[in-house]
Amino acid sequence: MKELSLNVLDIAENSVKAGAKLIRILLEETEDTLKMTVADNGCGMREEIVRGVMDPFYTTRTTRKVGLGIPFLKLAAEQTGGYVNVTSRHESEYPDTHGTETVALFYKNHIDFTPMGDIISTVTTLIQGSPDIDFEFRHDSKDFHVLLDTRQMREILGADIPLNDPEILVWIAQYLKDQY
């Protein structure tokens, strides 16, 4: 992946497929680190699947759906000296608190740090593809605090206006841009 924002899009698509109603994307930057969290309330994964997602060669027929997304993210994080951690609670064991959380830590000053790229485009792409899911996007650094919460948007827009209407998507892109 040429941009970290593409990894974010790819990982969040897993949450979409897991049937999440809410997907939270959190980016926290310090002077030399970037911490990325994608947390959802989707169906979650069983323990043996969680162990498998890290390794592209572990993949068997049953886990094949997971694919290369996490290994790509792991590569991007580890080549900067960082890590990826996936925790999950499957709905069969956690009927009320199921979901998956993927955390990746990057060292920004490392020569192999992949630039963030167009993160706004990632957010609008996710909302365009899944207008019925709620997204909370936060990007914090010492210079900015960016927030978009589709639940707040729906409160004002009402239930009958789809969030993937082009006019809304244009508004979202500009709303985010203004906060950077």
Binding site: T124, T125, Q128, G129, M153, P166, E167, L169, V170, D178
Partner: protein, 124 residues
């Protein structure tokens, strides 16, 4: 500076549009957005279609949607165009520029852009 309050104004403006839209869309543009598609550059392709449909005034007639991996990862970014009563057209190795051309010549003009289709890629 945009504020959430602006959404109330957009809501008012869109009330009328919603009625118009119920006529139903008839053309679907589907962009593959699995890991393979994303890595190959599907995101700008999708955005080009979304923006283009809006710019060309095709809202309501054309729906742009996303799908997963359809198994031809070597041809990503892959875009499928489905029009009622016509055979599905599969465009491969797409870019934002090619998307604009497909919108103008195929979606608006009704003429398939043969050079971008999978049939053409396979024969090449």
């Amino acid at each position: 500076m945009k504020s959430l309050a602006e959404l109330a104004a957009i809501r008012e403006k869109m009330k009328d549009k919603i009625v118009l839209r119920e006529g139903g869309a008839n053309t679907r543009i589907v962009v593959g957005m699995a890991t393979c598609g994303i890595a190959a550059g599907a995101r700008p392709v999708l955005n080009a279609f979304v923006e283009g449909v809006d710019k060309e005034g095709l809202n309501g007639q054309v729906i742009v949607s996303q799908t997963g991996c359809i198994g031809i990862c070597q041809y990503e970014p892959v875009v499928e165009v489905m029009e009622p009563g016509k055979e599905k057209v599969t465009y491969v190795k797409m870019t934002a520029e090619k998307a604009e051309k497909v919108l103008k010549e195929h979606i608006k003009g009704g003429k398939v852009v043969q050079e971008y289709t999978i049939a053409n890629a396979k024969n090449a």
